[in-house]
Symmetry: C2
Subunit: 187 residues, 2 copies
């Protein structure tokens, strides 16, 4: 290891009141059209896509090398809304190295972290400002927005973790979250 | 890997306004007497110790297994004050696996993250609410409180990182931080 090549320390601004990263270097954007196949009511999603295909969620990053020893961090911003009566959510993923955990510190909004293991165990944790959800090794995870404002979290995971979207897309999550008659229903 | 033994997801409360962990399972406490050998003015530290040996800093944790794949997280609370004219600080450490990074998200107070590498490079970053300092792999690091209230950070690092206090205690940090004539001086 050449000491000459060491990374210099740096600071990133996190606006803890407004739940945003200041000057993110990179932003991953998912629109409604990126969510095909994820909601129960495909026709309702198509209607949202043809109606303007709005932003669904965004991940603000200031990237570091994706390797062992580094820590990836980001701000995840999930819009509020419904596809039919199903609450807006992220795609969800396992890590490419499945035995790596992730920490989500919720800064704003209301929702759930929905999680499952490859053998079908399912768990979900409530998210609101100040809730830090520990997604242990081996659990696929997706955020679900059950509120009327953005659901925003500060996330940290190992640099070598990687994202595996394919397996959970094939398996699906065992539970979905709906807003029916003004009540949140998990089924 | 037995799927039966997988850890269940859980939630920890972080009070983002008051900069505290809610119901921490474990708390590491360092008193003035634990800081012997770290400050320039040993006699001034002795006076603080004989004058009541007050709390110097505290680390609130809800521990997870210390192994690859897990993420350790804590709330670090450093008291304000002076040893002679030198600002209160933590011991500082390298990680036992030196190529592992650490993230400090400052929630309260004013100070510096002081860092050095084993070949003597030195860097420091300002800390105040919303500053997220990235301590890259291979950098020893200590927090220094330059303000009048507690310096509090939410910290995350790899489960297998470990703490190596010995090497930096032998080497020392190249720079110290003082309050002189109402001004912060780094030298």
């Amino acid at each position: 290891m050449s000491i000459e090549k060491l990374m210099q320390p740096f600071t990133v601004g996190i606006d803890l009141e407004n739940a945003r990263m200041k000057n993110p270097q990179k932003s991953l954007v998912r629109k409604a059209s990126d969510m095909k196949g994820h909601y129960k009511n495909a026709a309702a999603l198509d209607k949202i896509i043809t109606g303007g295909n709005p932003l669904h969620y965004e991940v603000q990053e200031t990237p570091v090398p994706e390797k062992y020893g580094e820590l990836m961090y980001c701000i995840s911003i999930l819009q509020p809304g419904l596809v039919g009566d199903e609450c807006f959510m992220t795609k969800g993923h396992y890590h490419t190295i499945p035995e790596t955990a992730e920490i989500y510190l919720c800064l704003k909004g209301e929702g759930f972290m929905m999680m499952k293991t490859s053998d079908g165990k399912c768990d979900y944790q409530k998210m609101s400002r100040g809730h830090m959800v520990y997604v242990p090794p081996y659990w696929a995870h997706r955020s679900i927005n059950t509120g009327k404002e953005e659901l925003v979290s500060f996330c940290v995971y190992q640099g070598d973790a990687g994202h595996n979207y394919g397996d959970i897309e094939t398996e699906g999550f065992p539970k979905r979250v709906f807003l029916r008659g003004g009540k949140i229903v998990v089924e």
